[in-house]
Amino acid sequence: MREINLETVRIVEGKAKVLREDILKMLAEAGSGHTGGSLSSADIVACLYFWEMSIDPNNPHDENRDRFVLSKGHAAPVLYAALAEKGFFPREKLKTLRRLGSPLQGHPDMRKLPGVEASTGSLGQGISWAVGMALAGKIDKKDYRVYSLLGDGELQEGMVWEAFMAAAHYKLDNLTAFVDHNRLQIDGKITEVMSPEPVADKFRAFGWEVIIIDGHNVEEIMRALNKAREIKGRPTVIIAETVKGKGVSFMENRAEWHGTAPKKDDLEKALAELL
């Protein structure tokens, strides 16, 4: 159980702002990449890396560490921003995103960058890794916890439901999944492209504990994470209601910002809004 108070909330909110700035800067520098879904999950990732998880950048392979799997691997910028801010690698490296030879690949590569727990990007696969890691924790009787972040469009991949079935079947209460429910995917609204709704009912039917929160309210994210620690005998999903492109008015709720990087003018305007 982690402490929730004005101070801890304020610290995480500050970190989320840093992550958003870094996301925008590295994407503008790279000239391509996924802006909308990185911004929508910044508050969740900030909570995990700067409040919830036991991880040590000086000992990134500690057997007892908590693990985070970014199943929506295209949101790599939010992960890289968190790892840099946490001290896993020097911040200057953020500028190398998507460049030849950079450890900051377009989608996360665990073999290239310390702190990246899983090579993801092909949607649907990361949650299966997380289930495997949680199973390993049970086999080894370790108390580390495993977290995974999925997109809501990602729920269209059939294999995630195989993974959800397995997580409940094996009673993985050491696993907490987030759904970044921003309701948009590349081709438009998730409900128009291929509706995964009702998401909460589906998870309940699959045997998961379901918590629905405002994914941009740090205190609500914290409370949900503390509640998930108390749930025994089944995995928990935190369905985070979010806004794609959150924090930058001209990016918010716009599917065209899914896979578009800000240009120089956009960047200045966007950064000004974050201040």
Partner: protein, 312 residues
Amino acid sequence: MEKQATRDAYGKALVELGKKYNDVVVLDADLSKSTKTSDFAKEFPERFINAGIAEQNMIGMAAGLAAAGKKVFASSFAVFAAGRAFEQVRNSVAYARLNVKICASHAGITVGEDGGSHQAVEDIAVMRAVPNMTVVVPADGVSTKKAVFAVYEHEGPVYMRLGRPAVPLIYDERLDFKIGKGIELRSGKDVTLIACGIMVGKALEAAELLAKEGIEASVIDMHTIKPLDEELIIRKAEETGAILTLEEHSIIGGLGGAVCEVVSEKCPVLVKRMGIKDLFGQSGKPDELMEYYGLTVGHIMNNVHNLLEIKP
């Protein structure tokens, strides 16, 4: 001659492996009685995970377990392990270079009566093309057992191809099985038979008969398709000037394809590929199918005769 299916040897070897190393975890997708991982499940229930009929998630979970330090053996039929879960094998296992050993049984047409939908004829080709992947096709029970231990020691992903039917034992316990090192079972100067899996035993039988006709054939057990023992292939190409490849797999992209790639670039000699000629399988008894698709000892003899006729 004593016989054993490679899948049976696999099941028994897994139990031995599990006794020796406690980081071994075994996964299956509701086929444990057929792939023989059920032996391990009985012995080590806490280290056996049934994924249900969900091969994609099985491979994904295998990646997560391996990332958490486990040595994972994941089994299903070859058509599902290499086919249904191909992209999970590619992106979650091979791209991440994890210790996941995909041990697929019921490969090839000797699956028999279940028919073409269940007979993988392209799995070697598909798995061989994936970077970081090692591909092993043992010939008999003894080499399968040795291969299981070698595969455990090997750092990184492996695809191991196993069969359904009982096949004659070729080796005894003295076998020194090394990944990437082909085994010259017989030396002859006229032609080289390079085989993998159940075709190794048939190649030996054929070589015996050819000797009676005065034809001296070399026989190579090329149990590792990748990394391929190029040195041995080049040496045999130089020594015999004619190669016949034999596999219970499509002639496209498998052992035959791999041998041709080496020979054509480094020591061009005549190569004839024996295998399934760009066709799906069908229902039938394993022996009937081997006859129908041209993979018997008699077919080997004919191919060698034809090869020697045109050999310069």
